[in-house]
Symmetry: none
Subunit: 399 residues, 2 copies
């Protein structure tokens, strides 16, 4: 598709807004009941559903529940099965660490070893962040010739390590044995390009054990999701769009940066995000606005809280529409039904509003109505081509 959008892209003055309510799709609390979105008071989205075209977005493929990485890559128009983001790279992205070309990122866990070197606790007793963060910072004392080592605390037993240097492959197996009573596994290369990474990882673990030797809980660490910087082409390249991201959480800022969006503003609330949007309206062609709390309340299994947060999303719509975007889209990166308290595979209600979108019979924005929608059920990766077409930004394919 990107070969096509590269070839067909047309520049004009149109504006596209992609409002992502994370984990938007849901499930009713009982058969025949209403979902979170259907329960929520969303008069503005309902009005746009009547004028626009709706459908169900399949984040990856039917039946596949995505994480935030593939969920957003899909919405951004990148095939999430082609552009893989390793766990280490996602964790680094999620804390705002700016990966450079050639970096290898690793998600690490503090763990507890006994005097025989066997793991007694794979998460170091779920050590609290206030104890683990200083230990992660202490690990910055690790020094390995020929390579820069970055260590960043994350939360509880988790931290991130990034190796920066020449010739580092990202094909190294996890060292967590997924069991106690045994020692951590040695790092092993799973491809020829990663022998150097393995040597550096071994040296890192050796020095870390020395630095942590006197710790009662976190006296060692395991390495997981060793991964290179993902390298998707940019929005400017594949769509010809100057794109901006207005997000509160580092993860979504990081994902947007990966595809070349500018992260703008310092907003902490949806209201503040709207102000950032208004202030930057003239500077960009495309705006990605991320709202986290529809997902986090769903993850908490709190139906009522998710309903409330969904209604909050609706309140920002008038400020967006007052700017007169040419294309407005509201969707989620996946469903997070409170009934499941987790990400799910269900298609995500999606609304596209534009002048020539060819409207459909949908009378409000919700899962059941979206089944009648003119977008049908489609893979998320096609949403961007549809947005571009509706913005008049794609020329004709072939004569």
């Amino acid at each position: 598709m990107h070969d096509l959008t590269r070839q067909l892209q047309v520049k004009n003055d149109s504006k596209i807004v992609l409002l992502v309510a994370d984990g938007l799709g849901g499930l009713p609390q009982e058969p025949g009941g209403k979902t979170e979105l259907e329960t929520a008071n969303t008069p503005h989205l309902d009005a746009l559903a009547r004028e626009g075209v709706c459908g169900g977005s399949i984040p990856v493929k039917p039946g596949i529940s995505p994480g935030s990485g593939p969920g957003h890559l899909g919405l951004f128009g990148y095939d999430p099965l082609e552009y893989l983001i390793g766990r280490g790279a996602l964790e680094a992205t999620g804390i705002g660490f700016k990966l450079e070309e050639g970096d290898v990122a690793i998600r690490c866990n503090f763990c507890t070893l006994d005097s025989d070197g066997n793991i007694t606790d794979r998460r170091a007793g779920r050590i609290p962040t206030e104890e683990s963060a200083p230990l992660a910072i202490k690990l910055r004392e690790v020094s390995i010739p020929g390579v820069q080592v970055f260590v960043e605390p994350v939360k509880e037993h988790r931290f991130v390590v990034v190796f920066r240097g020449e010739g580092l492959g990202g094909n190294v197996a996890d060292t967590d044995p997924q069991a106690t009573g045994v020692p951590p596994l040695d790092p092993i290369a799973t491809a020829e390009d990663s022998h150097k990474t393995v040597e550096i990882a071994k040296e890192f673990i050796k020095q870390a054990r020395e630095l942590l030797a006197d710790q009662p809980k976190a006296n060692c660490c395991t390495l997981r999701g060793v991964s290179p910087k993902p390298n998707p082409p940019s929005y400017e390249d594949v769509y010809g769009l100057r794109a901006a991201a207005i997000a509160v959480y580092p993860m979504y800022k990081g994902l947007a940066q990966l595809v070349g969006m500018d992260v703008i503003g310092q907003a902490q609330t949806l209201e503040e995000q709207m102000t950032v949007l208004e202030e930057n309206w003239d500077k960009y062609d495309f705006f990605f606005i991320h709202f986290k709390y529809t997902d986090s309340t769903g993850e908490d299994g709190n139906f009522d809280a998710k309903v409330k947060k969904t209604a909050e999303v609706d309140t920002c719509v008038p400020r967006i529409m007052a700017l007169k975007p040419d294309v407005f889209i509201c969707t989620g990166d996946h469903s997070t039904p409170a009934m499941l308290a987790s990400h799910s595979w269900h298609p995500v209600p999606t609304l596209l509003w534009a002048k020539h979108c060819r409207t459909d019979p949908c009378q409000n924005f919700g899962e059941a109505e979206c089944l009648k929608g003119g977008l049908g059920q489609f893979e998320a990766k096609y949403l961007m081509p549809l947005a571009l077409a509706n913005a008049g930004r794609l020329g004709k394919f072939g004569a």
Copy 2:
């Protein structure tokens, strides 16, 4: 898919009719209004929609507006992203020039050069056809050893050149600099296989300038869309069908010939096309009938004229159905909403009628009803396998 249809094809006496109303899909003139097809009086298609199964055909991929070439290849069951038709080959096809294996076709524009050899007009003052056609014919005097050169007038400043010979590649960059005040670009090979083509193109331009030297407007030409004959497998090969095309315009005859259809009759009207169909009913398994005017009225932005032409399509349906086809399909190669006055990306209303098609709730043939249709939204390239299946022409896949 063609590996499958080749392997599973079954011969029988069934007949399939594919009626293509070019640019069939549309848009309402105002939100909530009816499209051209929904406005048109189409009692016969409506009746078949009640008995048949409907849906929305996506010509290429969501958001992509195709030209006639990819639009028809998709309907013929050829992935339009796999089988590309270069501009030169399409132009040659469009004027009825029968390309042979190994030919290289070029779309050329007459242009005007000043005494310094710089372009003053890229289209030779939009020279009228009655002046340009004799000049194109004069260029048949070009003689290049080892290669046959064909020159065919098209319209106004456009003509087609075909080189026929051994070892000619189609990878040559356009020579139109897309600007005035500069000379035409030299032909340059963009792949190793095309150096010979470049030499011949240079010689052609040299001789053409000599032949046109005394012309006030059209004293030179530029070369665009250099392309080899596209080579899709034939209908006989991939579907086991003896296929015929009944079209008025050379472009659609040419596209049908590319996939091995016989072009039959000399019909100039839809009524005459029906007569050709009746006269040849026993000789073929598959009939492609092309109606142009739903597209041309859409391109003109004339909603009412498109409504009228759509109703005209309906009038031919009784004569088709009187022949008792096993499968009847009515669709378009793309949408051409009068509101856009251009080809668009919107799914194309599609109706398939057959004995065992599993009907759906659609009560008439139109964009909104098709959203309820049993075919759902599908890529155009799957229409032919559906036609074959409904004709009993596809065996079981696997044991």
